[in-house]
């Protein structure tokens, strides 16, 4: 009885997690004529990488129309590269600011740390829409729209409170003995941090950096408002503009699946990490 329930449960978990991904994958492997079959085909009859190759900028021969079709007119490759550049800059800058700040908040109780913690939590709870409106106007004024550095700055606004919060949690449980030993041996505070604390905390810092990377890569709202229709366009707004303009939804499906490769790889890394839990606060792991 219990075993049967468990099996039903496992099947449910797998189907629940897989079906939405499977369905887009299914359509992404079809030629255009098959997409509109009634009822919809559960498996592609003529599985092909045609959509993927065209999305990535290749001309592909279509055996059903006997034509060579040109690459799709959407800068998907460029958008993936843009996303990669922006996300890398966001995670590097975030780590550079959030590591010392998280350390200071986690290690020292100063007069203002309560206020700052509240400010961080407040920033994290802030509805993205409500800072999007003023930041958009500020962006217009300072010519940040349509630029890679502009969207990087906007993502910093969203990611910094989150990452500082994670690292603060980490450093508050981080044993201070090794650091004290280094201080006794004559190291200054800064030397103790650079030589002892950072090397020991490196796995946590790298994880926090990866999370900021994923956050930036996945962010849609600011990316759409700041980069859509410009050379700086990142991958999420590209998917959105394809949906509005493209007739071939099988190509759009391939682009969507391509955009999921980065998240899948990162989640494989975090599967281990999440179970060995360091992150007591689920707040830290949620994405917009």
């Amino acid at each position: 009885m219990k075993k049967a329930l468990l099996i039903i449960g496992i099947v449910f978990v797998v189907l629940w997690s897989i079906i939405p991904i499977y369905w887009a994958l299914n359509i992404s492997l079809m030629y255009h004529f098959e997409v509109y079959s009634v009822p919809a085909h559960l498996f592609p009859e003529h599985p092909t990488l045609y959509n993927y190759l065209r999305s990535l900028g290749f001309s592909v021969f279509n055996p059903f129309t006997n034509r060579v079709d040109p690459p799709v007119g959407y800068p998907i490759r460029e958008a993936l590269i843009n996303s990669f550049v922006v996300a890398s800059m966001v995670s590097l800058i975030t780590i550079a600011i959030a590591t010392p700040a998280g350390y200071a908040l986690g290690r020292y109780r100063t007069r203002h740390s309560g206020l700052l913690t509240a400010l961080l939590l407040g920033s994290r709870t802030l509805p993205p829409v409500s800072i999007l409106i003023p930041l958009y106007i500020i962006g217009l004024r300072y010519r940040l729209l349509g630029t890679t550095h502009g969207i990087t700055v906007m993502h910093l606004a969203l990611v910094l409170p989150l990452t500082t919060w994670i690292l603060m949690g980490f450093f508050s449980t981080f044993p201070s003995e090794i650091e004290k030993a280094a201080r006794v041996d004559g190291a200054t505070r800064l030397q103790a941090i650079v030589r002892v604390v950072i090397p020991t905390a490196l796995p946590a810092i790298v994880s926090a950096g990866l999370l900021s990377f994923l956050f930036s890569y996945n962010e849609y709202l600011f990316s759409w408002v700041f980069t859509s229709g410009t050379p700086a366009q990142t991958i999420q707004p590209t998917l959105a503009s394809m949906w509005f303009m493209i007739g071939e939804i099988n190509i759009m499906a391939a682009a969507t699946i391509l955009s999921l490769i980065v998240p899948v790889v990162i989640s494989l890394y975090f599967q281990k990490y999440i179970i060995q839990v360091r992150l007591v606060d689920p707040y830290a792991l949620a994405f917009e």
């Binding site: 009634v38 919809a40 740390s113 800072i131 409170p161 989640s267």
Partner: protein
């Protein structure tokens, strides 16, 4: 001779402030200043399409609450979405955590699969859902045909069903987070307690109620609040899946603030709507902080 500039001792306090300085500057420039600016904007009638921008005091707020029927409509939609989405996400998180905590062959692989939706962008979730629920090429509309319930594919997303489907999608995106958080909590429950309960002859359901759930009360409260905050401010999912439709059926407060600003170009009014959101989110944030730090659940 006395030193003209005595070197001041670097206290812990000063050292901490130096480390915090970049963050403080960034928070002021990127969060606090925009918020202040947004508040000022909400006191004006700024409308870019009509090219006007004048200080009008609290008129926007007054109009919102007393004149605009869409305000109450959006508030009701937001409330319904938040309730459905967060309760569903919590219930499924708990279910998934209990399943993934059992030991069975292939558990690692199943966990790896179950975590996937967590890493996907909300926009990608909306995209995947559009394929799943589309009328002509969607899985669900064609299932009606496969199951013999209809001759032609059925429109699944209607003005009645859309809000429930959005709640389902929210749950799909956030359940892994909740499930893995609860899973971590399950793993710190001492096994002795289960063995003792078993010796006392407690059934599986009784063990769940007496041993497991008391340990999960606080974590469940945490994820419930968390999901509430996230569903209140959820915008991308609605933009990507329904665009507030069909009609205005899924127009939540967040979506409305977005549409007013970026489609109607009424910046002032949009900012005023967003301030209602900020107040709701702040209240939930305070509640969250309280539950996390003060409440002994």
């Amino acid at each position: 001779m006395a030193q003209p500039f005595p070197k001041r001792k670097l206290t812990d306090e000063r050292f901490a402030i130096i480390l915090l300085l970049p963050l403080i500057i960034a928070l002021f420039a990127l969060n606090l200043y925009p918020m202040a600016y947004s508040f000022w904007l909400s006191l004006t009638n700024t409308d870019v399409s009509r090219g006007i921008s004048k200080f009008i005091g609290f008129i926007n707020y007054y109009n919102l609450v007393f004149k605009d029927p869409y305000f109450w409509h959006s508030l009701r939609v937001s409330l319904q979405f938040t309730l459905e989405a967060s309760l569903l996400a919590v219930a499924l998180s708990l279910t998934f955590a209990l399943i993934l905590n059992e030991s069975f062959k292939g558990r690692r692989i199943i966990r790896t699969i179950a975590i996937l939706p967590w890493a996907f962008s909300t926009y990608a979730v909306a995209s995947l859902a559009r394929y799943l629920f589309a009328r002509s090429y969607g899985l669900f509309s064609s299932l009606y045909v496969y199951l013999g319930l209809s001759d032609t594919p059925v429109e699944v997303v209607t003005s009645e069903s859309a809000i429930h489907i959005l709640a389902l999608l929210f749950a799909w995106n956030y359940v892994p987070l909740g499930a893995f958080f609860l899973l971590a909590q399950l793993q710190i429950i001492p096994l002795d307690l289960y063995n003792q309960a078993r010796i006392d002859g407690a059934s599986a359901i009784r063990r769940l109620k007496v041993v497991t759930l008391p340990f999960l009360r606080r974590p469940i409260a945490i994820i419930l609040l968390l999901f509430t905050v996230f569903s209140v401010v959820e915008t991308t999912l609605i933009i990507g899946f329904t665009g507030g439709g069909p009609g205005k059926a899924t127009q939540t407060l967040t979506y409305w603030a977005y549409a007013k600003t970026f489609m109607d170009y009424e910046y002032g009014y949009g900012a005023a709507i967003s301030w209602f959101l900020i107040l709701i989110a702040m209240a939930l944030g305070v509640l969250y902080y309280y539950v996390l730090n003060k409440l002994k659940l």
